[in-house]
Amino acid sequence: MSTREFFQRGPSPLVRLAFFCAFSIALVILDTRYHSVGFIRAGLNIFIYPAEQAAHLPVYLYEQSIEFFTSQSELRAHNERLNHQLIVFSERAAQSASLEKDLNELRALNDLPARTKLPSILAEVSHGGRNPFTAKLVLDRGSRAGLIEGQPVMDANGLIGQVTHVSLLSAEVTMVTEQNQQIPVRILRNGLRTLSEGDGSSGTLSLPFLPEGADIQAGDQIVTSGIDGTYPEGLPVAMVAHIERSSSRVFARVTCTPVGGIGRGHYVLVLNPPKSADSAKSTETTKSGSDHD
């Protein structure tokens, strides 16, 4: 070691601490208030991806070996259940096709644009986000597969969340139960519109803006209302679990349990927000309208 190196100390630890603290706090503010550090996250994610795959390998192999030794009877039972579901769903699909035709005819009669089916991307949940602070999922598809921020994500049972960060090969989904995650919803039974809000760590949702006298009861199904143009209309979100009414409060306290179940290795569907399809359509309508003029 040369004499110069030996005496070269640089800034004192306290100065370094102040610098790194200021930098960290700036990052926290930029991330939470302005969502403008996505590029840092996306950049680092590219390096993390191979390490993540390596870390998941033993768990993956273990799960595969467990699956390999699944008993014949279990597989049979599973197959039977799937067959049963297939019959039920094909009947519903047939019904829904005829209903959709009727609906589109009625919409055409009223000069409303026909509803279009939204393209979706199938993705697999690679892990549960590993974050003790937030309810998140990480998908194995990213911007390379065409995912963009803001897309709604659902599984076989219903809505589970929204894509909030996208990197090249993976994407983060913020769950519907996450604190401050709001979704415009309606009660399926009576069409009452409101907003749902995640409760955070408890894993439930609440409907904070329903007045005391609102017509709502335990067991009511909550679906998306499609009002914001982010979530398509009619996706199941939650089931009302508990209602607490008190004359001293303006709003009822409604707790709901989400219907979308989640776990590692499960497949989810990333939907395209209806906003993009609608805006394309409205531009078309305006154009044709101006042509007529």
């Binding site: 998941h56 690679s126 590993r130 974050n131 602070f133």
Partner: protein, 170 residues
Amino acid sequence: MISQHDRVLRNPSHIRLIWASFVIAYLLTLLPWSGWAVILEPNWLLLVLIHWWLREPWRVGQSAGFFSGLMMDVAQTGILGVSALSFSIAGWLTIKFRTRMLAFSPVAQAPQILPILIGARLVAVLAVWLSSGGSPNWWLLLGSASDFIFWIPITLVLHQQDLRRSHPSP
């Protein structure tokens, strides 16, 4: 109580050992933890960082803490900067009390490191609470117990490996 290993001049730690310890700690962080395991998971990176801050502060400095924190935030899909902040503060505290702590054996160091481990988690809980609202998740402080439990084996293994590499047997 006083460790004899640190009373004598020794060769600097092998750079490969430092890197390997960080890679292993990061891979452990990247395991698909879920449920209660997320809360009780030891802060692997911080434990390795504290070990090297005590032994090799010239090579593993406060900047290593900051960057490890950033990597941790990305791995945990958390708010960017939270772990970086908590690791930076833990780094400063460790380096500040380093000389005193090194006078003790790794086992005797543990109770002195516990406040740093709790402090690091407390900073993270408060930073998340202040930045995103809601109520602070105090359960996360429970993880300091597993940090404390894992500190002794981690520091002992790294110390042993360090000695073996610094003084290779003939």
